[in-house]
Amino acid sequence: MTPISAQSSNKLRRTDRRPIDWAKVLAHIILIAGSIMFLMPFVYVVSTSLKTAGDVYTFPPEFVPEPVAWENYPDALTAMPFDRFFLNTILLALGRIIGLTLSCSLAGFAFAKLRWKGRNTLFFIVLLTLMIPTEVTLIPRYILFSKLGWVGSFAPLLVPGFFAENAFFVFLFRQFFMTMGQDLIDAARIDGCSFVGVFWRIIAPNAKPVFAVVAIYIIQNNWNSFLLPMIYLTDRAKYTLALGLRLFNEQYYSQTHLLMAASVFVVVPIVILFFFMQRYFIQGVVFTGSKG
């Protein structure tokens, strides 16, 4: 994995004093036009979310709301228990982070650094499961969880996390641990350190970036997740933000200003996280792409 941010900023520093490069000017023009096109949907949605009900339906649209209806946000967010939805989403994300990072990193450690029979065969199965579409396991899992009486609770979304359900994370951890030296591990073993100790004292502290990438992935997936929570979380008190917004979309279908305020609210935490953790988002994506 090449951290492209580091590379590109190095390239930026080197300012070359040459005559105007028209190809670059053209590239900038296209990129600026493209950026505006990518930004306009945000601008339009945010501006709609700040308009009074009467100002929403104008054509051509006015992008600067006059007057600014800040009250749309409290109005929308109190129309449904969005605080509860927010809390549920956070709790699910935390539970999945704990379960998945623990189980996937331990498996990745065994696949990368321990010597045992069956390792290659099992790792091959891990790689195979990467290609299985979720639909195929959707129905039997639902039947399993409904027979266990877990439908309606967080358990169907949390418990598989503790069993390393995400093969991609196992792969990610394994690939990262592979790059770490064997010498340090062997030295620690000679000093009487257990394998759990090696993992906890040597591997994990030196693998913080990959843990960060995985945690960010989980938060984002969890914010995005819709089909599975919809199947399992039947009780409104357990709804996530995605489910809450979908319900809001049905009940306030025609109150566009409130609907846009609610959808901006759901988006904002991820946007904030993105701006602070952009490096890890990008590393995760780039890593996905380099599997090929």
């Binding site: 590109s8 990129l31 065994a110 099992l122 503790f162 995005n224 995605a242 959808s263």
Partner: protein, 308 residues
């Protein structure tokens, strides 16, 4: 792309029992998870696909009944058509647009970080929010898209209410999320050694020639990977039609997973839905194999020597 040897060839000389035991304990959660949540369910769904089952009552053996039913289900064919059409149009479009932006960003340009952030941001947004937002953006009378078209004197259609425009609208919307593909191409482009371009220049290649003879071959494995990933993603599209169009108008956006979901969780036809999932599984597998088969003709791997 750099440094990912899978290294499956390792053969230990002498194994320590203690080390093996530890390894099995560390892998145990994954093994259990695989049996309970992946391997087991896959076999179970094959068995269920030969039954009629509403979960509440005991399952009834149906043999190949569900598969025969599928052949007589016009909505199955409609959903297959919609999803395949979407994959055929949206995935190549996403590749072209993503690669185009990545190439522009790879020209040692200023502000690359800012552009990268802007183009990537929409891709991280939760899909339900994006769907809710775009239902408004695509609105016939008040939407942003039709306002944009009106600047050119075009009277835009009811994107989500007219059967012939609903699928194009979802394809257009999917282009807002090309940012993650763009990042992957950008990383790939930055991995191309500059001496290849210098050599091409010495040989008299212009910008277009070096794009066709250097950039495209070097980036082709990434394109192949994105093609396969995009295809699988296309068959997982669910929230957009579910929220924006409910599969309509006139089933114009009845995506495969939406049809499957309705059979399973609205009509509780678990047997039929399992059969649908198996047909999808095989359909994707066949398409993937075909793509890999034909990829030999256009994908170039470094270190590969072509026999002319």
């Amino acid at each position: 792309m750099g440094g990912f040897s899978l290294n499956l060839t390792f053969q230990p000389k002498r194994l320590s029992f203690w080390e093996s035991l530890n390894a099995w304990i560390f892998v145990a959660p994954w093994i259990l998870g695989f049996i309970l949540f992946t391997g087991g369910p896959i076999l179970a769904s094959l068995v269920i696909s030969f039954t009629e089952w509403d979960i509440v009552n005991p399952p009834v053996w149906a043999g190949l009944g569900n598969y025969e039913l599928m052949l007589r289900d016009p909505l199955f064919f409609q959903s297959l058509k919609v999803t395949t059409l979407y994959a055929l149009v949206a995935v190549p479009l996403q590749i072209v647009v993503g690669l185009f932006i990545a190439i522009l960003l790879n020209t040692k340009i200023r502000l690359i970080g800012l552009y990268r952030t802007l183009f990537y941001l929409p891709a991280v947004l939760p899909i339900v929010s994006v769907a809710v937002m775009w239902r408004w953006i695509l609105s016939r009378d008040w939407g942003l898209i039709n306002w944009f078209l009106s600047l050119f004197g075009v009277y835009g259609p009811g994107w989500l209410s007219e059967p012939e425009w609903a699928l194009p609208a979802l394809i257009l919307m999917s282009l807002w999320g090309v940012g993650s593909g763009m990042l992957i191409y950008l990383a790939g482009l930055q991995g191309i050694p500059t001496d290849l371009y210098e050599a091409a220049k010495v040989d008299g290649a212009g910008a277009w020639a070096s794009f066709v003879y250097v950039t495209l071959p070097m980036i082709s494995p990434v394109i192949l990977f994105q093609l396969v990933v995009g295809l699988i993603a296309a068959f997982q599209v669910f929230a957009q039609p579910f929220i924006m169009t409910q599969g309509g108008p006139q089933n114009a956006t009845l995506f495969y997973l939406l049809h499957l979901f309705r059979n399973a969780f609205e009509f509780f036809r678990m047997g039929y839905a399992s059969a649908l999932s198996w047909v999808l599984f095989i359909y994707i597998a066949v398409l993937t194999v075909l793509i890999f088969r034909f990829s030999a003709a256009w994908v170039f791997y470094e270190g590969e020597i072509k026999n002319e």
